[in-house]
Symmetry: C2
């Protein structure tokens, strides 16, 4: 097999089967790590669900840790990308915060497994991610906090601690991915619908904007 080749991010060429197999493995791995965490997941189970032998999967990803890091990396790049887009979405606090909250809820809806892998990792003390968070998330957060402090100085919103504002928005939006099982049980449903996420967004934007004293 393998004669067609396709360019890749590092510039090297590689077979089309490698590209599609890697994508498939990463998708399955995300699912399994989300459910069982790094330690609970076995590469055997991931290979099984990806439709290949463990040995064959290890041909594509040389170790469990490498695979896990790739899964984490993919999620975080997606998040950072979406968060930067939100920065430039509007001018007024109301519109920007609204976009930020609804954007994060949408990510929870579309990528619940990625969010869960991230959550397991952080709860476990971020053994793989501490450095990455310091280097990438914190600068972004500090830029966002600075923006909020500016709004406060201009009298556009109540003088709250911007850090705790973001901790709350993160928690309240990601809970619809991470704690989806609990929410399903509370709402007596098998799975959350688009309408549920819409309601969550309505509630959160109302409470946050009004709670910060931002006029709509």
């Amino acid at each position: 097999m393998a004669s067609a080749t396709t360019p890749k991010r590092n510039g090297k060429r590689q077979s089309a089967t490698r590209t599609s197999h890697e994508a498939n493995i990463l998708r399955v791995a995300e699912e399994v790590f989300a459910q069982l965490g790094y330690n609970g997941a076995s590469i055997d189970m991931i290979a099984d669900r990806a439709g290949m032998s463990k040995q064959n999967m290890l041909y594509y990803f040389p170790s469990k840790e490498v695979l896990y890091r790739r899964v984490l990396e993919n999620i975080l790049n997606l998040w950072l990308e979406k968060m930067q887009l939100l920065e430039h979405s509007g001018e007024e606090p109301a519109q920007m915060l609204r976009n930020y909250i609804l954007g994060k809820i949408e990510i929870s809806r579309q990528y619940p497994n990625g969010s869960k892998v991230f959550a397991h990792e952080i709860i476990s003390g971020a053994p793989f991610l501490s450095d990455f968070l310091r280097d990438n998330l914190v600068p972004q957060l500090e830029a966002d906090a600075k923006l909020v402090r500016g709004w406060i100085k201009q009298g556009k919103m109540d003088p709250v601690d911007p850090m705790h504002l973001f901790f709350t928005i993160w928690a309240a939006t990601q809970t619809y991915a991470d704690f989806s099982r609990q929410i399903e049980i509370a709402l007596n449903k098998d799975s959350l619908s688009a309408r549920d996420f819409e309601k969550a967004g309505d509630f959160l934007t109302h409470m946050v904007l009004k709670g910060l004293g931002i006029s709509l």
Copy 2:
């Protein structure tokens, strides 16, 4: 060893060494399960940190699963107990919600490991807890939601969806336990102080009460 005996919840008598050893094992187990989840934790590591051999620990808890269930059970009983106390704390919405939020933050401060074990369990799809949540948490939640709907009918607060209100309060308060590592990194600290929890409480109570249109 073991001649002094002491009564226990099930009425049977047992040695004092059993009582103290069990308590010690449960405390350590909570710590290890919090960090590594059910699958990642090994009874060997728990026994080690508890200062005894694995075989000896298995004398007190016949299996890993039994030990894990006991840890979960302890946490949940504590939570339900505290949540019921909050129900009777005041009369007016402002005071009751304030107590509820500050009470949950205080639990995050005092029992971060319990919260983390619970979080791992829910993110993993609640394999051990689904039934318990349905039987215990949901009735309590529905009673609380009914109370909120009453306040709305009386015009005491904005007409929001009570379910999403509670999801948000749970997420925003538990994040200071579950995601403490991320928050520490964001605030550039080794650990969260009592003052940090106080600030979190100030922010949340302000935003939630004002955001719901509840006069202070």
